[in-house]
Symmetry: C2
């Protein structure tokens, strides 16, 4: 099981790269060279970040991407939500009720606790905080 899928991971690393680069604008070309990712996949990821207002894109020659949100305000939780949807660790709440006593079920409660803990953790992490300790 993977808490963070490939596209979210690429997003995180691309954003970190853009911040660290200290450039006015960063193109996909540069990102691919710097981060060794498959170009078309990364492009899709960046386009999504643009749509969601995390990045701002510029088309045409010398185009590329610029941060549209300050690194302190880009939370990992937000990125996960964009690429993977809301964090949830169990399905049986809305799928067919496979558990006989869904309200009192201890197992469900425990998993809810894990879920809350997970959300807490990813909420406490921003792109900025990743870079701070990374250097």
């Amino acid at each position: 099981m993977n808490l963070i899928t490939r596209n979210t991971d690429y997003a995180i690393r691309a954003l970190c790269y853009i911040v660290k680069s200290n450039k006015d604008i960063v193109s996909v070309k540069e990102l691919v060279e710097g981060l060794k990712m498959p170009r078309p996949f990364l492009r899709k990821v960046l386009q999504e970040l643009n749509k969601k207002g995390i990045l701002r894109s510029y088309k045409g020659k010398n185009g590329g991407f610029v941060l549209a949100t300050r690194p302190e305000n880009i939370y990992i939780s937000k990125l996960i939500e964009i690429f993977q949807g809301p964090i949830k660790l169990q399905e049986h709440t809305f799928k067919k009720k496979i558990c006989p006593e869904i309200k009192s079920c201890v197992l469900k409660k425990k998993i809810d606790e894990v879920e809350n803990y997970t959300i807490l953790k990813v909420n406490s992490l921003s792109i900025a905080s990743l870079l701070k300790t990374g250097k």
Copy 2:
């Protein structure tokens, strides 16, 4: 994302059923009727539990399954391990190192914390403890 997959879930509920039934031996037929699960899938699950020493099976007419381990000693963590392998929430440790600074990476550390918390939770739950509060 699902912390507990269908086969693990079926295993949990089948084991609970067997304990609650208070019978000498329980057949797949009865389990299917009581729990409304697809018979061939449940059979596969039970066979696995037999192989792993959680259940003991009896072949032939009037055959079926019996608990081979006391409910207090059947941990959810064990069942997860049997059907889903060891609990891990990130892959990038052994897959190609996509993170530039894997040792100092804050993200990895946080996910490790979530992982440990998760393991703690499922280690604290046994079939017996599920039934205690379930009644």
